[in-house]
Symmetry: C2
Subunit: 301 residues, 2 copies
């Protein structure tokens, strides 16, 4: 009989799902990626993937896109709630797995898993007490680790939707967010860049003025995060942040915005090790889900 010690992780994004089994970043036994279609088809493929590994699986971490019901006392705990994504509102991801797997199951938001993945697996982050992970792509979200724990609060943070200064003389674009117009996501997500400049963000060259403006909004959000939480590291991931030339622009602007106010040698320095891309790249989410699975296993023992 096989030893039951494999961890499973599922990152369920709005565009694609990534599932993996293994023990960590250097030790993945199997991995699969597929597009997000209907809930039945998508969750079916995920369940089938883990089914293959059933005899050795010890726990699974599930990290779908939100908003999620993360309240264990709620009747819809485990469900995706008010998403505009057709067919997905009300889908109970956790229940679908509970019906098939009698194992410790963890459940959290995709971006919380990404934050937890960077926090858990990246050697440079060991010993830190706090870390904030922003994903900046089609949507914008943040996972926040404080005191070594993922912050949940009343629901879960939605830091992608904070209000920021918006100088309409410099940038008349009204914002792309259907809820808030020119919130952070409305001003700075991938579709906002495309709509503002009339071409997809990934076609805009590095020297295009789009990026200076993009860095302006991201820097204000990062500076607000520093002022509100004073985290020990800020990781910026997601599709937009693949444009690595944004990092020096953001760091410079954060320094200008804070203007010497936060008395920390980390902030006073070049911030090259403070505002960073994800060390796990596109695998932060699925590896974070794996780490959540491991934590659920430890808690169950």
């Amino acid at each position: 009989m096989a030893t039951r010690n494999l961890l499973g992780g599922m990152e369920g994004g709005g565009t694609k799902f990534v599932c993996a089994v293994g023990h960590g970043p250097e030790d993945l036994l199997d991995e699969i990626r597929f597009p997000t279609t209907s809930p039945d088809e998508t969750l079916g493929r995920a369940l089938d993937f883990f089914e293959k590994h059933r005899p050795r699986l010890a726990a699974i971490g599930l990290a779908p896109f939100g908003p999620l019901d993360l309240n264990p006392a709620s009747p819809s705990f485990g469900a995706i709630t008010a998403t505009p994504k057709p067919g997905w509102a009300g889908t109970n991801v956790l229940a679908a797995f509970r019906a098939r797997f009698d194992l410790p199951l963890a459940f959290d938001l995709d971006v919380n898993a990404a934050a937890f993945g960077e926090y858990t697996w990246v050697p440079e982050n060991r010993g830190l007490d706090s870390l904030v992970y922003y994903t900046i792509g089609t949507g914008i979200g943040a996972g926040i680790i404080l005191g070594g724990q993922i912050v949940h609060g009343l629901t879960h943070p939605e830091a992608g939707h904070i209000s920021l200064p918006h100088d309409r003389a410099r940038d008349p674009f009204p914002g792309s967010c259907p809820f808030h117009g020119d919130c952070f996501e409305g001003l700075a997500n991938g579709p906002a860049i495309g709509a503002r400049w009339g071409q997809p963000a990934d076609r805009l060259p590095d020297e295009h003025p789009a990026w200076e403006l993009e860095a302006e909004y991201i820097a204000h959000a990062v500076a607000n995060t520093i002022l509100m939480l004073s985290p020990q590291r800020i990781v910026l991931g997601g599709g937009v942040m693949k444009r690595l030339h944004l990092f020096p622009l953001i760091r410079r602007r954060v320094r200008e915005i804070l203007n010497g106010y936060v008395a920390s040698p980390v902030i006073a320095g070049d911030m090259e090790e403070y505002i960073v891309p994800p060390a796990l790249g596109g695998r932060a989410g699925v590896l974070g889900a794996l780490a959540l699975g491991r934590r659920a296993l430890e808690e169950a023992r």
Copy 2:
């Protein structure tokens, strides 16, 4: 010989100091208030107050104005750092007490103590996991409790200085903050209200348009706090918030800004028990310092 079971608390504000001894809000044996003058004179008066109670004192919580060095590994741990207040930069408050009292001493920021005071002593807050306390007066600051703990991070939060939307067509006032101009504090502290309208805030009647604009900025800061942290309660204290007619204006505007995005019955409701004045009134800070003293005593045992 007297029993050593008295707790001491000191709230050291930029304008006045409040010191008390006792066991809690309903059981204060002695209390003193005096203006903040030079460090020697002011700390001298505080030390003398506690000296009177020395035989029965078991612990003291110290909560001066910031910015503070809160890092126990730092050589200047316990000091007020880069304050513009003449004479106070570099004053080590904790060291002054260590030299006189061989007791468990707690040390934290005044607004953190106020948050901890509301969290610890107010029956309605019992069982909560998270609470944010804003003081809105001459300065603006926030104390954040998450997972029952005061958030510190890299230094300590400075949420009074976050960037907010500022519509210069509606409000041409450039902001009063010497570091950031039109940050939250620069737009919404007491001096900003006075400078914008040409008369002190406390002379402006409730129906003056100043308050609608004030509520606008506070509501954006509160909404950003909800989006970033999703806390279970938000307490708004300080001199400006003594104008209680601000509360309904703020709650209404927070609801408009969030626009149904945060899926929580608390946010969807009237928020009358969510965005609240401090139950301890002007004593939140000193009673929080007392609670910090009690915690230091428990940790020392």
